[in-house]
Symmetry: C2
Subunit: 394 residues, 2 copies
């Protein structure tokens, strides 16, 4: 008697659970240290040490009914103001409290945005490879997902295809940079061109088209690369942000939405976000962690740990014949599968105790994702297994 929408998902979830059980089965036979689980994006780098002291200070200094109480559904004004100032300085923008809505992570934020803007049958465009949950988020509000296929040369955006796929039903476009699963950061050139196309199409169809930039990995970048700030390129834009990766706090569900101050009908949009946050049942982002974030704006996790992991794994895979772009951000590699069938490849990998996710899951078959947010040690121990794995196809 579950809803028909959920029925397929429940069936599908037993497949995922089977994969998870397989991991546990392998661990029980070979020992946890000999199972190379590259399938999950759960940060292994610790949150900044200071977080503990900040929590301590807050619970000792703030009045408990204020600290754990209700506030505006969009969050504490002083916290939103502090984030607005912080981002304003970093990206040279005029942001205020009104531009920020505190959310239960980026997943919460994207749902709140989509609830606010989508009518049934509205189309939302995503670019392969993409985080598979976008499809569920759009379907939550009876929207229709249109996929632009991957540009597998650069893993930038396939903008020619985008031009053909935007229609008068397109309400929004979602991008995710640094990208899960490719790790690629969309260049300033890509963002400029994307923005130009969207503006042209807004004129052509005489409607607003929203650009939603999902940026949980914005601070997980290497070699001094910087993620261009979408707000400086396109007016009808939102950022969805989360501290899950940048401060390694994924379980606490804390993040925010930024609404471009130049957005059309700004006041209606922010009012709608406020209401959506409430009626979807979030009510507000967790209150203690809103206050923790206010004191943590300058903190960061040790990115070098991820960078060392990336270099070790990337260099080895390429040296033994895998084709892979060297990504500048996030904690994923997205190599080409040595055989066309990426699902079969991931099945083969299990024989060597390697757990990876097929590219098909991200709308990009023929590739596979490795999450390298695991210990350096374990990656080192996995290298031999990759050597054995690739021999299968030589």
């Amino acid at each position: 008697m579950i809803s028909s929408k959920m029925r397929d998902m429940v069936l599908n979830s037993s497949t995922i659970r089977a994969m998870f059980e397989e991991g546990k089965r392998l661990s029980s036979i070979y020992g946890e240290e000999n199972v190379f689980d590259f399938s999950i994006g759960n940060p292994n780098v610790e949150p900044p040490e200071e977080i503990k002291n900040i929590i301590n200070k807050i619970i000792n200094e703030e009045k408990p009914n204020f600290l754990h109480g209700y506030m505006n559904n969009s969050g504490y004004e002083d916290v939103r103001e502090a984030i607005a100032n912080h981002l304003g300085l970093e990206y040279n923008l005029q942001l205020k409290c009104e531009n920020i809505v505190m959310t239960c992570g980026a997943a919460g934020g994207l749902n709140v945005i989509l609830k606010s803007i989508l009518d049934p049958e509205d189309e939302v465009i995503v670019f392969a490879p993409f985080f598979g949950e976008y499809i569920n988020y759009v379907k939550n509000f009876d929207g229709v997902v249109t996929v632009v296929s991957a540009d597998t040369n650069s893993f930038q955006l396939n903008l020619e295809e985008l031009k053909n796929k935007i229609s008068n039903k397109t309400k929004a476009v979602i991008i995710n940079s640094p990208n899960n699963p490719s790790g690629v950061i969309y260049s300033e050139e890509t963002i400029k061109e994307l923005s130009n196309i969207l503006r042209e199409k807004e004129l052509e169809f005489n409607k607003d088209i929203y650009l939603i930039s999902d940026e949980p990995y914005r601070e997980i970048v290497y070699d001094n690369t910087k993620v261009p700030c979408i707000l400086n390129y396109y007016n009808n834009s939102f950022i969805g942000y989360s501290y899950s990766k940048s401060l390694s706090l994924p379980g606490e569900r804390i993040g925010y939405i930024v609404v471009n101050p130049k957005m059309n009908t700004f006041e209606d949009i922010t009012a709608a976000l406020n209401i959506a946050n409430r009626i979807l049942g979030f009510v507000n982002a967790p209150s203690l962690f809103q206050r923790v974030i206010k004191e943590s704006l300058k903190l960061e996790v040790n990115i070098n740990i991820y960078k060392k992991n990336r270099d070790l794994l990337y260099n080895h895979l390429v040296s033994i014949g895998f084709e892979c772009l060297k990504p500048d951000g996030a904690f994923y590699l997205f190599p080409k599968s040595p055989i066309e069938d990426d699902v079969k490849f991931c099945e083969d990998a299990k024989k060597f105790n390697i757990l990876a996710v097929p590219g098909k899951t991200f709308g990009c078959p023929g590739y596979f994702r490795l999450s390298y947010c695991i210990s350096y040690d374990k990656i080192e121990r996995s290298l031999k297994a990759f050597n054995e794995l690739i021999k299968l196809y030589k």
Copy 2:
């Protein structure tokens, strides 16, 4: 360009904001201490003092990647198990980890339940007076709300009307006890009769009908009354629970769903709840507060503060001629409006600096709600204002 579903809500929200602004305007003229705001259900009683030490202990003892990390979307197994055992003992039930899903408060929990069970056009029955958000929650999933009108003699359930309103489209029935806004606890007799009717209708229509019991006020009860546990009376039942009121932690968004172990297709249902929690963007209930709850199962707030407030306000209102049932729970009074038009009455009340919410908001015109979760002092000072107010109609 916001969604058409949101448009009315945004318009409506400016009315609510206007009310809020009116409160601020009155405060600026008469002083905050002379404005009697009975409109908001934000607990004024402090969380238990021990919560602070528990947080302290947890952040010092737990590994931070475990404490702030992802876990099963339904929550930490050990936390769910501890809650299951605690409830099992209290209500003489066999509950396990599998029966509990940790949620972002009861609002999150109700949305997760409705997402899991509702197909478009499915009907959900609510009993007036009801918490107005239920309508939004049901509409989130394209369900249709059917209202059973209030039994204003007892504020128990109008079960004769229920019999006529259940149809083959009815998927669920929501009850809320202790009730917001009436404060009434549904008696064991009411619950038994309700359960009998639902079972008969399940047979008649050959389908499952879910009973969802929303219980954020379960522990806010006076004079040794006890809330009957729905799980003992009806198999296809859920409880939605929150620590917002029982531990005065509304901002932290922590609560749970209980799934009756005797529910039909139990495994499909719990799998659907797990997925719904994820795809709606909650992902999981906030992790630190899941662990706090595990250590706080025996804690409670000082209910006597609310009880003293209730007695003071109730006795005075009745003594000056208001008609009102004396409620056994929650922190609301729901007196009869001295004039038929409850909206007009609440407008009149503002002239005496009293802010109240019209019964219309709860599907029960002709009444008004007073939230007495404010300081005893302020209630004392408000009594004269009520004297003046009722004179208008004599």
